[in-house]
């Protein structure tokens, strides 16, 4: 009863968690300032491999939420959400979402102890970059939309079909693929340089995240042990949704800060534009969006760790809110900045691109809300 109002859910970070955030923020400010992000996105590889190696060597970020028995740091999704928030804040171009979130959680959601033992430590250490290939033509991230097939050929499996978009599909050394095997869904792994796999880098709205199209033509694959592939896929997408929502929160927070700083510094009509209510109120609404988004992310991350029964709803809640909030704040950031905000040299468009791209990743807002309605028993 008394618990109803204060809540069973823990929405406040511990001191240790705050320290993690602070040290990560310093690390990224130092090693991945926007000037470096700008350089990185002009490269062919499209991500910062040197930074990736430091993230692993100095901070063990890739294995943050991997159990220590599998070579990880053994933390939970609350810590993971802190990492994602900081990466999103800095628009860090890295295959972190693909490898440390999507592929890692796919392996953890399955029932393949051998695969976990063989593959996960290297992914957790950042030595292997992995990704998860789910979506196909039209970008649906649902089991029902999957047409890629796996057939047994002698004692090995071979994949046929096209996955698109695949997050960091070019950078990946290892691709976890969801495909139909006979009448059921299954998870497979394919090497990044496997014969019969052709990878195409896609032109993307978001310049700071690489998306690719992967075409499998009789590509040899290893089938992973899994009792309930649809259940596992839902689990992966839920955990990834929480992480992505946290990343969106980080971007939103940065947009809010850029807007407020600019509204204080920029003068028109003889005074700072932030003193005009039209601008001030836009900034206030951004702040409201940030506070609500942060509450949703904290709740969803807590649910992922401590109340798995609440995760499907909590993940949908966080994704639905953060997607809409981040895009609105990113668009309003350009508005607050006016002309300078529409230039290539200003960072606002990078956030705007990321916001819309993230909103539509893992299934867009209409899908997210329909799934949420279903899970709420509507």
């Amino acid at each position: 009863m008394g618990e109803v109002s204060v809540g069973a859910e823990n929405l406040v970070l511990t001191e240790e968690q705050e320290e993690l955030r602070d040290s990560l923020r310093r690390f990224l400010a130092d090693r991945s300032p926007m000037s470096r992000v700008r350089q990185t996105i002009e490269t062919t590889e499209g991500f910062d491999r040197a930074l990736w190696d430091r993230m692993a060597a100095d901070l063990s970020l890739q294995g943050m939420a991997v159990p220590d028995t599998c070579g990880g740091a053994g933390f939970g999704q609350v810590e993971m959400s802190i990492v994602m928030e900081e990466l999103g804040r800095g628009l860090v171009p890295s295959p972190f979402l693909a490898s440390a979130v999507l592929a890692t959680n796919a392996l953890l959601a399955l029932d393949d102890a051998d695969a976990i033992r063989e593959l996960l430590p290297s992914i957790a250490a950042g030595r292997t970059i992995a990704t998860l290939a789910v979506a196909e033509d039209g970008g649906g991230w649902e089991a029902a939309k999957i047409a890629t097939t796996a057939v047994l050929d002698g004692d090995g499996w071979r994949l046929q079909g096209t996955k698109t978009p695949v997050v960091d599909g070019i950078a990946a050394d290892l691709v976890v693929v969801v495909a139909h095997a006979g009448g059921e869904l299954g998870f497979f792994t394919v090497d990044g340089d496997a014969p019969g796999l052709s990878r195409t880098r896609l032109a993307g709205l978001d310049l700071t995240r690489q998306l690719a199209s992967l075409e499998f033509s009789g590509t040899p694959a290893r089938r992973l042990v899994c009792e309930d592939a649809t259940g596992a896929l839902n689990q992966v997408l839920d955990v990834a949704s929480v992480a992505l929502a946290a990343e969106q929160l980080g971007g939103l927070q940065r947009c809010l800060e850029m807007s407020v700083d600019y509204a204080k510094a920029r003068a028109q009509f003889g005074r700072p534009i932030g003193s005009f209510q039209a601008v001030k109120h836009l900034c206030a609404d951004m702040h409201v969006a940030m506070e609500l988004a942060r509450s949703a992310v904290r709740y969803a991350a807590w649910a992922a760790d401590a109340a798995p029964g609440e995760l499907p709803v909590a993940a949908g809640l966080a994704r639905a809110f953060c997607s809409e909030a981040f895009f609105k704040v990113a668009a309003d950031t350009i508005q607050v900045h006016g002309g300078i905000g529409f230039t290539w040299e200003h960072d606002a468009h990078l956030y705007y691109r990321r916001a819309k791209s993230s909103e539509l990743l893992l299934g867009g807002p209409v899908k997210v809300r329909e799934r949420l309605a279903e899970r709420l028993g509507v």
Partner: protein, 413 residues
């Protein structure tokens, strides 16, 4: 979060729960709306029992009739009490705003005279701030108090006064010096609502109901010892009371989680539209908006427990809550369709949502409008510069106020 509570508070909580179970009625309605309407006489009896049992003024000093416990104990009681039907409508203003301000600023005589009867429900209080010409800009108020010997003579009009028609006492702010800038010539008084010259009229609002009042003062004589704080220091006293108001609103009106979503999902089902994809989108959206506002309230409460004061971030909840009320009422109207505009007199569901639609605008105006909340967030949370103020250093009588033009020869009215 529960582990942070001390054993003494736990004991107090257990005692409070037991007393409430034995003496109060549980709220029956799913979203916690008041199930019964209290009349003043029975409310007073209940409040007296509550005080006798040690649950009124939990964190207030014992010297004046309080229980001398901690704010954490008071929160524990409030949390327990949320499940029950208490007569807060009569005593909320006194307990949440007037009492705390008197404790902060009152003389010892005032505290001895007023606090105990307030806690026992023997005297009902109202707050006399807003005027027809002074809403968001309360400091531009025009009600005058003129000193005549050892009394102040008050004339003017207040509006949107809750509980005034039941009130015995009011905390009034009035202009005591029109020749100085607006903030510097205001004084706060305790005024006897039964004094000659006080007229209370119910104010019918756009819902058709009349929960608020207009209060007219016509030469009302207020003894000099009724000044709260210092003469002409009433603005600081008002700010203090408004801070207490924000805290008390934050503590009592937090909605149950998912209340509108749950009710409207039922409405959708009962009307056979719950499979409609557009309706499902709207319901999911409602769930999201309602839940995040609730989670934000929970997060602030958890931070408060850890000693981090919410400060001006309370405005975020106020603003988001007001917008949510409009959104929910809009979804309800969509679901109800033509039943939202015309209904069989026995259709309580339709009537209830029509009432929600009609009361939704109040949330964006009362207790600081949405625009004021955005200013607070912009200026106090984000540190954005204030608008240039044209009225700061100008004597009040030269200001343009409400719809009144500057009148250098007359201080108002």
């Amino acid at each position: 979060m529960g582990e942070a509570r001390g054993p003494a508070e736990q004991n107090f909580r257990v005692r409070a729960r037991a007393w409430l179970e034995a003496n109060a009625t549980r709220r029956s309605d799913e979203d916690g709306r008041q199930a019964r309407r209290w009349d003043l006489a029975s409310a007073r009896v209940f409040q007296g029992k509550l005080h006798d049992a040690g649950f009124a003024g939990v964190a207030w000093p014992t010297a004046y009739g309080g229980q001398g416990l901690t704010p954490a104990d008071q929160r524990a009681f409030d949390e327990e009490a949320r499940e029950f039907d208490l007569p807060g409508e009569f005593f909320g203003i006194g307990m949440g705003m007037c009492g705390p301000t008197l404790l902060d600023l009152g003389t010892d005589e005032q505290k001895l005279r007023y606090i105990r009867p307030l806690l026992r429900g023997e005297e009902v209080w109202c707050q006399l701030f807003s005027e027809p010409g002074a809403g968001s800009d309360v400091a531009s108020l025009q009600t005058r108090a003129v000193k005549e010997g050892d009394v102040w003579v008050v004339s003017g009009q207040k509006v949107w006064t809750s509980v005034a028609r039941f009130a015995d006492l009011g905390a009034l702010i009035a202009r005591t010096d029109p020749d100085v800038p607006k903030h510097d010539g205001i004084t706060m008084f305790v005024v006897d609502m039964h004094a000659p010259g006080v007229t209370v009229r119910p104010l019918r609002d756009m819902t058709g109901g009349a929960t608020f009042n207009e209060v007219f003062f016509d030469g009302v004589r207020v003894p000099a010892e009724n000044v709260i704080g210092e003469v002409n220091a009433g603005w600081a006293a008002s700010v203090r009371m408004l801070i207490h108001e924000r805290v008390s609103i934050g503590g009592t009106t937090r909605s149950r989680r998912g209340a509108a979503f749950a009710t409207l999902t039922e409405v959708a089902r009962s009307r056979g539209v719950d499979r409609d994809p557009v309706v499902r989108q709207r319901l999911a959206e409602l769930y999201v908006r309602e839940r995040v506002v609730h989670l934000f309230g929970t997060r602030l409460a958890q931070e408060a427990r850890l000693g981090r004061s919410p400060g001006s971030r309370g405005s975020v909840g106020k603003l988001a809550g007001a917008e949510l009320a409009r959104f929910s009422a809009g979804v309800a109207a969509e679901l109800l369709g033509s039943d939202a505009i015309a209904w069989d007199g026995t259709d309580r569901e339709a009537a209830r949502w029509a009432a929600a639609l009609l009361s939704a605008p109040a949330g964006g105006i009362a207790g600081g409008s949405n625009e004021i909340q955005r200013n607070i967030i912009g200026e106090r949370v984000l540190g954005l510069p204030k608008e240039p103020q044209v009225d700061r250093d100008v004597p009040f009588r030269e200001l343009r106020v409400g719809t009144r033009s500057p009148s250098p020869h007359d201080g108002g009215s």
